[in-house]
Each structure stands twice: as structure tokens, then as C-alpha cells.
Symmetry: C2
């Protein structure tokens, strides 16, 4: 019989055991922080009616959808984010949910085609949202949860670059260009890539004059420190209106952030942050690792006005953010901090011969009851081969049963040995290491 070539689809990948373990550890840490702040999990199907999945994003993005007709004739699609499913979920179960509703959702999403080097077509999305409230308390909370997540992950210092969409909108109102908000934002989004001259050209094309353009570019340039940035913005947007509300909001959020024990430097007011064009309506944030700025954003989010307007007449404002699990895996690998989770087994018992399996299993079980993850080498192989296995796996302690019933222990890091008359002496040795 000819063999089937074992392979995965382009853009889909297996995780090797150490990668899967690292990701599982990140997920668990993130979940613990979410829960410490009152966020609970939800779950929803990866496959939904295509009508639901396509509802919001419309034409262009659909090229990226995995969609098909199922055997019951239904038009279905694999979800391409967790926001649309959240909107559908909240509308569908509105009466059963308790608001304000804090939820997190960690699940697979799928984005096909648009071949791009190394772009994953299946990845683990991790979102948290607080739905219902409007105001600085909810906005500040989102930033504090994000900061706590990164602090718990041991990825070094993180900077949250924070802006408020109302500031630019207010400025455009002030200069009589409120209707040009979308093209202006679109132009600004390319500023870093294309430079000021191109951006100016685009703004002129939609009718802004040069003084207005100067004012916009000036407003979108961060100063040396947050006070200077906010003061400059105040001068540009005037005393009232939504721009002023945005600035006041940022000031207040910053005070709350610091009062909650966060490092003041971890929050940076950066009026160049936009995060996409249409979705966000208030505060926006992007997270960046101080030690690895080139890896790009490791998370972000913001405030939106109305989550579920496609599915319900109930008005549902909220604030939410994404934690970039895949980027964080890359970061932990780059920072070489993955060593700790290479292997969860702390002790191996070598194969004791068929006739002595019972005392060996009893020994391993006793280690396990003391909290020491333990495995038995499960087949009769040469001692050297068993030790090579332990070494390749990175298991720190190996125990071999002696004929007199004691166990010979070896610490793999330095070769130190100890004869253990029983499991409890092995436990003490391991715990003191």
C-alpha cells in the first residue's frame, strides 16, 4: 500500500510539544489575569452561518473567508475574528447575561488567501471586552488589565501607546473638516510608511488647506512627555467639544492607571495611534515590548460605540482589547525565556524490569503526591538509552531502583547522585535543589 504524504495545509501549522507547552502557559497566565479582574470565559462555534460572519465586514474582506455550503445546504463560514461572534452572542443571549458584561474569549480564527510570507491562516485569538459602561473607569480598567497581563508574562517592560479618537475628530470639527475624518485617518495611517509629503498630498486632495494640514500633523505628533503632548493638544482642539473630552479622559485614565500601582512609564500618550478606521470611537491603545519593539504590536484595542447593532436594537457600547498570543510566543522565544517550560516532568524512574514494576510505580506515585511530576520509562531498554531520553527531554532528576529496594538518584545538571531509601528522601532532595 502506498503511503499518504503527511503534510499540513499552507498557512496552517503544527505546534511541536515545546511550542504547545509555551502557548498553553501563556494562555493560562493570561486567563489568570483576566479572572483576577472579573473577566470570565465564553465560547462559541468556529463555524457559523456565513451571513453572520460576513455581516459586518462586507465585500473586500470576504476574500479571506473560508466559506462553503455544508451537506445540509447551509452557507457557512469559519469565523475570521472573535468580535463578530461576540456581537452575535451578546445579541442572542442578551436576556441571560449580566451587564456590565466582562468576558474573555480565547479561540481559533481563520483567514485565508492573500498569500503573505509566514502569515498564519489559523491562529489563536485572545480578546477581552467590558460591555455596557461608558467612561474613564472602564477605559482605565482595560489598560490596567493589559498591563497586568504583560507583567505576568515575563516579557520585560511594556509600553501602552494610548490615544483617544475623539481628539482628532474634535480637531477636524474645529477646522471644519469633520466630514473628511475617514480619508484623513486613512492618510495618517500611512504616515510612518510613506512620509509627511505623501500624507499632505492626500489631505490636500480631500480639500484641507495647508494650515489645517499643519495643525492635524502637529496634533498627531507625540511630544517628549505626556504633559507636553496633552498641553499641545489642548491648544489645538480648543476648550470644548469631543476633542477636549478626549484629552480630559486621557488625563484621568493616566491618574487611575498610576493609582492602581502601574508603572507611570508604562503608559505613553501617543496621538499617532489610530488602530484602523471605523470601529473605534474613543480611547485606543497599542502595546509594544520595550526590549523587542521590532516584533510589532503585542496587543491593542479600544472603545467602541455600539457592538451588536447588526443583530439587536439594544445599544451596547464597550471597551475591549486583544492580546497577541502568537507574537508573545515569538517574543518569549526571542528573549530565550522559554527554558523554564521546556519539560514539565521533574523526575523519571528508569524501567525497573517487569518483576519490579510495582515498587517503581509506587515510588513515582509517591513523588507525584508530593507535587513532583514524574514519569516511568515505560519499556525495557538499555540504561544508556533511557538516560539519553531523559537528557533529550530535559528531565532534571532520574531515579533507578537498586536490587535492595532503594533508589539511586541522579541530578542531570551536575551529575550529583544520592541513594534514596524511600520516596520521601527523594522528595526532600528534589525540593532542596
Amino acid at each position: 500500500m502506498s503511503l499518504i504524504q503527511p503534510r499540513t495545509l499552507k498557512g496552517f501549522r503544527d505546534l511541536m510539544p515545546e511550542q504547545a507547552l509555551r502557548r498553553a502557559e501563556i494562555v493560562r497566565t493570561v486567563e489568570d489575569v483576566f479572572r483576577a479582574h472579573g473577566y470570565g470565559p465564553i465560547d462559541s462555534p468556529v463555524l457559523e452561518y456565513a451571513e453572520i460572519i460576513k455581516g459586518k465586514t462586507g465585500g473586500e474582506a470576504n476574500k479571506e473567508l473560508f466559506e462553503f455550503v455544508d451537506k445540509g445546504g447551509r452557507e457557512v463560514a469559519l469565523r475570521n475574528d472573535l468580535t463578530v461572534p461576540l456581537a452575535r452572542y451578546v445579541a442572542q443571549h442578551e436576556g441571560k447575561l449580566v451587564f456590565p458584561f466582562r468576558r474573555y474569549h480565547i479561540g481559533l480564527v481563520f483567514r485565508g488567501e492573500r498569500p503573505q510570507r509566514g502569515r498564519a491562516r489559523e491562529f489563536l485569538q485572545c480578546d477581552a471586552d467590558l460591555i455596557g459602561p461608558v467612561g474613564v473607569a472602564a477605559d482605565a480598567e482595560a489598560l490596567i488589565v493589559m498591563a497586568d497581563v504583560y507583567a505576568a508574562l515575563d516579557v520585560g517592560a511594556v509600553t501602552l501607546r494610548v490615544n483617544d479618537r475623539r481628539i482628532l475628530n474634535g480637531l477636524l470639527e474645529t477646522i471644519g473638516a469633520a466630514d473628511q475624518a475617514v480619508p484623513v485617518l486613512r492618510a495618517l495611517d500611512k504616515r510612518e510608511k510613506l512620509g509627511d509629503e505623501t500624507v499632505r498630498g492626500e489631505m490636500r486632495a480631500v480639500g484641507l488647506d495647508d494650515p489645517a494640514i499643519d495643525r492635524v500633523l502637529d496634533a498627531c505628533t507625540p511630544r517628549d512627555d505626556d504633559d507636553a503632548t496633552l498641553t499641545a493638544l489642548e491648544g489645538l482642539v480648543g476648550e470644548t467639544g469631543q476633542g477636549r473630552a478626549g484629552i480630559e479622559g486621557l488625563r484621568h485614565v493616566k491618574r487611575i492607571f498610576e493609582a492602581a500601582g502601574q508603572r507611570p512609564e508604562a503608559l505613553r500618550i501617543d496621538p499617532s495611534i489610530a488602530r484602523g478606521l471605523d470601529y473605534y470611537t474613543g480611547i485606543v491603545v497599542e502595546a509594544q515590548l520595550d526590549d523587542l519593539p521590532d516584533i510589532g504590536s503585542v496587543g491593542g484595542g479600544g472603545r467602541y460605540d455600539d457592538l451588536a447593532s447588526l443583530y439587536t436594537k439594544s445599544h451596547m457600547p464597550g471597551v475591549g482589547f486583544t492580546i497577541g498570543i502568537t507574537r508573545l510566543m515569538d517574543a518569549l522565544e526571542a528573549l530565550d525565556r522559554e527554558g523554564a517550560t521546556r519539560c514539565t516532568t521533574q523526575a523519571m524512574v528508569t524501567f525497573p524490569g517487569e518483576e519490579a514494576l510495582t515498587p517503581a510505580f509506587a515510588f513515582a506515585a509517591a513523588l507525584r503526591r508530593a507535587g513532583i511530576a514524574s514519569e516511568i520509562y515505560p519499556q525495557p531498554k538499555k540504561h544508556g538509552q533511557q538516560m539519553r531520553y531523559a537528557d533529550r527531554r530535559g528531565i532534571p532528576f532520574v531515579f533507578t531502583r537498586n536490587d535492595d529496594g532503594t533508589f539511586h538518584g541522579k541530578r542531570m545538571a551536575d551529575g550529583e547522585t544520592l541513594t534514596c531509601p524511600d520516596a520521601s528522601s527523594a522528595v526532600s532532595w528534589i525540593q532542596s535543589a
Copy 2:
């Protein structure tokens, strides 16, 4: 604009927050036990080449597949189990994996059509396998890990009903009916449902005579205790051959199981256990809750001869098992043991007014640093509404900031109150509760 009806596909369902939390807790507990025994996670895509997914199961089962042609013209399918992906994974990454290879995999699988009441078309599969070794050490390990999983889940006592496929195969050899193994197994599989007479008829139809049928049915009937069962089997299968090896294996596995500190009653030799027709070749096991036998099997597995023969010439025997996450969720709900995980928030701070957000956030952050999951009610609502929210969510402690800067604490269960001058007094109070 007309609204889109928010709904999920038939057979697909959302998890409400308390269900998702319960499932997340089960998954975490199961993972902890797996890791304590040296099993590490892997991950693989939910979408694969249809050729891979269909490789093993062939014609009939494909009706249940979600398969389609993707936008790149590839024939793809959502996986319908984690065993085929494991086989593909092990063959594909053979050179990078360390054998013996212990892995667990918790992931979504999809099975469409065949409408059946309440049958889920998407569910979370949870498998653990030990690939490489053949023998009682590996077999016993599988049972011990399973028993540890159920013990950690607080679902009451569990019985592992254990058999060895070699026993019936050996008996069929002894009576000269080795070639009839598949139809005989198929008939036996229906014994509980259809009764002995129907089963006898089917066996006669494939050429077994009545004394042979008596012997087979006798061999597949558990006795009052394991010793009696094994002794009876010894009389039926003879002194040598695979049947005898199966019996000796079960005796040894039972001794190891008990030596590892497991309750002897938790393992029951049951020669009626078959677990499907073709896959398993040695020990087989099904797990049943003593307090909820009607809920059906909450897990099971067994030994197989060659995992990945479709994808590689390497011979890969192993032993593996499934933990029935969904059934265990149902069980915990039926046993009313879900209360503990209803809400992870331990303390809520009521909305203190815009002007006092900073001390309230500082207070909540201090509780959190002491390990107490805390949330702030994030918007200005009437006090009564905030208390109703805490009550509906099941939050045990609520703190309200007084004008003098102290916090008024209320224990929701009994209404006891305490004035806390600072967070540390609140922490002591909560921890002493």
C-alpha cells in the same frame, strides 16, 4: 436597516459564561494531571487535506465530514477526531520527537449530519497517548493517569472497566474461529441492547456451533469479582497463546494499579468491554461514574498496534485514551458541584463617583495583589442596581468607599458588614471567611 437574526448552526452551540468557566476548569485540571505524569501538549490545525482526514475511516464515515474545496482549489476537511491528526503528526515530525512520546491534545473536532437528538457537531476532544512502548508498564500507566484525572475532578468514585482484546481473539483461535473475529465482535457489541438470542443467531450465521457460542458468551460475562472472572477466562482460553497473555497482562496491570496507590475497586475486569471493532489490539478500558452510571462512558481507550501506518513505514504501537469533557461537564452539573466555579470574582468595589476613582482602583489593585480577584463596578448607577449585579453574579464580598476614605464591606451570603480602613483589613476579613 433590518437586523440579522443572531443564531448558531444546528448542532453547534455557545457556552454561557458559567458553562465555559466549568469547562475551562475541567480542562485545566485534566492538563495538570497529564503533566504530572509526563504528558505534554501538542497542537495541530482543525483544517487539513481531506485525503489525510479520510485516510483511515474510508467510505461510510465520510458522510459525517465537513469537507469542501478551499479558494486555492484544495480539497480540505475539518478533522473529526484527534487520532488521525496524531498519526499524521507523528509521521511528519518523527525525527524531531523524542520517543517514547507522551502527548495530550485538547482540541475541537467536527462531525456533521446524521441528525441525532442533542448530538453536538462541534465538540472538544481530549486525548492522551503514549507512543512507542508495548507492555504492561504502558498499559498500567494509562489506567493510572485516567484514575488520577477523575479523582482530581471531584465527580465521585469512578470505575474503570478493563478488558484485553487478546482474550477473545485467543478464545476464537482455540475454537477454530479466528477468522470470524470481526462478525463475532460485531454481534457481541449488540448483546446488551438486543439480548443473547439475537447474538446467538448472528454467530450461528457466521458458522459457530452452539458449544462455541456458549463458550464465547461465557467468556464475555463478568463474574462477581476479578479473581473469579480471570480464573474463568483461564479455563476458557487455555494455557498458552494470546488469550493467556491477555489474562496475565490484566493480572499484572491490576497489581501495578494498586501499587500506585489507586483504590482496588476502581478497576474492574469486565470481559464484555470491546470498544469498537478494528482499532484496538490489547487492553481496552471504559470509565464510568459510580454515582451517575446512566450518563454513560466518561472516557475510554486502549492499546493499538500501529498508529501511523498510512503515513510512515515506522512501526508505532501505543496506548491512549479519551477523557469525555462534555460528559464530565454534564456530570458536574448533575452532581451540583458547579457552584464553586460560578464566579471567579471574590470582591467588587462599587462605583465611587468619578472624583474618587483613583482610591477605588488603588483599593481593588491592593486586593488583587493579595490574590483576591476583584472588579470595580465600572459606571455610575444606583447603589441598589450595583448590589443586584453583585448578587446575580454571585460575588461574595462588596466594598463601598465612604466619604472618610474607609471602605464599607458587605459579605453577601449573610449580610455581615465591616468597616475597613485599608485594603489589608479587607484582605484579612475575606481570607478568614
